[in-house]
């Protein structure tokens, strides 16, 4: 009995460290230990095979195992409960309740034009109440996920003959091909990869961009991937899949260790391509890179990696906040190096321009589109 408590305690400690090991996993863990015995190595493997579910879990598992089973005396250690996640539901529109109740009596038209102005404002110049408003506007944004033709066929009025459906139809009439059933290609979501530069020079935009990413991920959780780039690369897709935007943003920012750090775009892009992109995340996807192109590292590395990315991806869109400003010239070393390998350079500084980015994502995900040289 004591050992079981110890094992369950270990599983709880793991959960505390952020791993998702629910009761079914813990049960499996106990069952596994029963099979292999209580030998230290056996318990290690039993736990690793049943409680982990991701390579990222492994270092955490190893550390927790070490601290839990490392010294035999530590089993009396108090085990905290996992903190309940605050159930915040962000107000979606300002109409009922919410901080700007005072505005409710203003004419609707004025509010609408305010919203329109806000949509065009540079995200970095917003004050606190404006940011609050922007959050709500982002939360109601419903970007339509892009799609592509699929391999599979579905019944349709026009298209190729479907032998299966026609035969079924024939059976009903005792073998006469009375009605021909047809089928055509169905559609599948096109994968979208958002790479968000969270280095110091982009810090004014990072929050809004991650919120935008959250909205996109929520619309198409399976076909969207989000990574942050800075001094290192972090995958935040998982964190952003939570429904509540505040909780999602909090989880994402916890996961990112290098907010407002330097930029080594080329290197982090290489890490992304090595670990994820090449394996298939970027393959055939529309990739949007949100960055100002301030590259501290070697620009040739960035050019190399952009070339590689372009070869893998369906289309590469560079959303550059500075491109939305008057008189902008693409002179930063990073931009100059990357330009030849980008399908489209767009601004990404306001809500309006984010919608614009999205319309490009949809357009470039169609067969036959893309490949056009970029213009500003």
């Amino acid at each position: 009995m004591h050992t079981v408590t110890g094992l369950v305690g270990f599983a709880r400690a793991l959960r505390h460290s952020g791993m998702a090991c629910g009761p079914t996993r813990v049960q499996a863990f106990l069952a596994a230990v029963e099979q292999v015995g209580f030998d230290r190595d056996a318990v290690y493997w039993a736990g690793r095979l049943t409680l982990c579910s991701d390579p990222d879990d492994l270092p955490r598992y190893d550390a927790a195992f070490e601290s839990w089973f490392g010294n035999a005396e530590s089993s009396g250690e108090p085990v905290g409960r996992p903190l309940p996640r605050p159930a915040q539901i962000a107000a979606l529109t300002g109409a009922d309740g919410g901080p700007d109740e005072g505005e409710a009596d203003r004419p609707l038209a004025a509010a609408a034009s305010d919203a329109e102005v806000l949509r065009r404002r540079d995200l970095s110049e917003l004050g606190v109440p404006e940011r609050e408003h922007l959050r709500r506007m982002l939360a109601v944004l419903r970007p339509e996920p892009p799609s592509r033709p699929a391999l599979r066929r579905r019944g349709s009025k026009r298209g190729a003959l479907s032998s299966r459906a026609t035969l079924r139809e024939m059976l009903r009439s005792g073998g006469e091909p009375v009605r021909l059933r047809r089928q055509r290609r169905s559609r599948r979501p096109r994968r979208v990869v958002l790479l968000v530069d969270v280095s110091g020079s982009m810090s004014a935009y990072a929050d809004a961009l991650l919120r935008f990413a959250h909205v996109v991920v929520r619309r198409a959780p399976v076909s969207t991937e989000v990574f942050t780039l800075g001094t290192r690369m972090t995958r935040v897709s998982r964190q952003l899949r939570q429904r509540d935007p505040e909780a999602a943003l909090l989880a994402a920012s916890r996961a990112v260790p290098d907010f407002s750090g330097g930029t080594r775009l080329g290197e982090t892009l290489r890490v992304f391509l090595d670990r994820w992109g090449q394996r298939g995340v970027a393959r055939g996807a529309v990739v949007v890179l949100f960055s100002d192109g301030w590259e501290r590292g070697d620009a040739t590395e960035l050019a190399d990696q952009m070339r590689r990315l372009r070869r893998l991806a369906r289309a590469v869109i560079w959303a550059n906040p500075h491109a939305g400003h008057d008189g902008y010239q693409p002179v930063q070393s990073g931009i100059v190096a990357a330009m030849p390998h980008v399908d489209r350079m767009v601004a990404g500084h306001s809500l309006r321009s984010l919608e614009d980015v999205w319309s490009w994502v949809r357009r470039l995900s169609q067969p036959g589109a893309g490949g056009a040289k970029c213009e500003i």
């Binding site: 299966r164 024939m170 298939g280 393959r283």
Partner: protein, 297 residues
């Protein structure tokens, strides 16, 4: 415990021994994973770098246990008809015409239809075959390439080890097959499936084990050559390559060198046979520039 009866392996060490006999050298993790998959009747989800022996594990398990390996290769757009079962339409149609001719135009639609949906016209695809022919090892290869709807469908089959064919009835496995799923992480496998599976992350083998694997898989391979190949491949893996070589590439390379009659890895032969181990021009250039091929000779 039907599983115990069929596969009389009572500890991870015995599993390791059985795999070893087939030429697959498992480490503790792999042996424990395979043992638990058999004992707990859970699918085993293997992830890891390409070339670490995920697929080979399933093959070795089948050989070690003396059962068939049934393989389902996943791809985008794979559906139940390709994975589970399908009806043989052309033969059904012929059958229908024959019935019609025999009955002289007086065909009872109901009995005609029921005669069409019998085992005769059922084409068993890998999943159904695995249920019918169990005990066996079912390899669901590269699950990450399938769509997530397919994953959900698979989950259902794997949790019941039974399928319902509407026109036919329930087919269930007398004894659950041993299921090995592999993923290259091009897409994250759904949590629901992961929860159902044991999870094992395979690493590249260390130098000693890789030498042993090379020697085991290529009988007659010179020991010194095996060591040199393994050491060089290990050093390549430490470099930032687009595609670090896996065990399969190390084997290819050793085989290529063996075929050339080499008993030692010299710079010249290494350079000419580099294509067996590195699959990108950039990687080959980087390795040459770093002098990996020339050092330690």
């Amino acid at each position: 415990m039907a599983v115990d009866d069929a596969f009389d392996l009572n500890s991870p060490a015995e599993v390791a021994k059985a795999l070893d006999d087939t030429g697959y050298l498992p480490d503790d993790g792999i042996a424990t994973a395979a043992f638990l998959a058999m004992r707990m009747r859970r699918p085993l989800l293997c992830e890891g770098e390409p070339g670490t022996g995920k697929t080979a594990l399933a093959q070795a398990l089948a050989t070690a246990l003396g059962v068939d390996l049934i393989r389902l290769q996943c791809h985008e757009g794979i559906d139940a008809a390709q994975a589970l079962y399908d009806w043989d339409f052309p033969r059904q149609l012929l059958h229908l015409r024959t019935l019609e001719a025999a009955a002289g135009g007086e065909l009872d639609a109901e009995s005609a239809e029921s005669s069409l949906y019998t085992r005769r016209f059922l084409l068993a695809r890998p999943l159904l075959r695995a249920l019918q022919e169990s005990p066996c090892v079912l390899l669901v290869d590269e699950i990450d390439r399938a769509d997530d709807e397919f994953e959900a469908f698979l989950l259902e089959v794997l949790s019941e080890y039974a399928v319902t064919i509407p026109e036919f009835g329930v087919v269930s496995a007398a004894q659950p097959p041993i299921v090995v799923l592999t993923s290259n992480r091009t897409r994250e496998v759904h949590d629901a499936l992961k929860r159902r599976c044991l999870y094992h992350w395979l690493e590249h083998p260390d130098l000693e084990r890789e030498v042993a694997i090379l020697r085991r898989r290529l009988p007659g391979l010179d020991e010194r050559l095996a060591e040199q190949v393994a050491a060089t491949v290990q050093r390549m893996r430490q470099m930032d390559l687009l595609k670090p070589p896996g065990v399969a590439e190390a084997l290819d390379w050793a085989q290529a060198l063996q075929a050339l009659g080499q008993d030692e890895l010299d710079t010249e032969t290494a350079a000419t046979t580099l294509g067996a181990v590195l699959k990108y021009r950039e990687d080959a250039e980087r390795v040459r520039a770093a002098g990996v091929l020339t050092a330690e000779r």
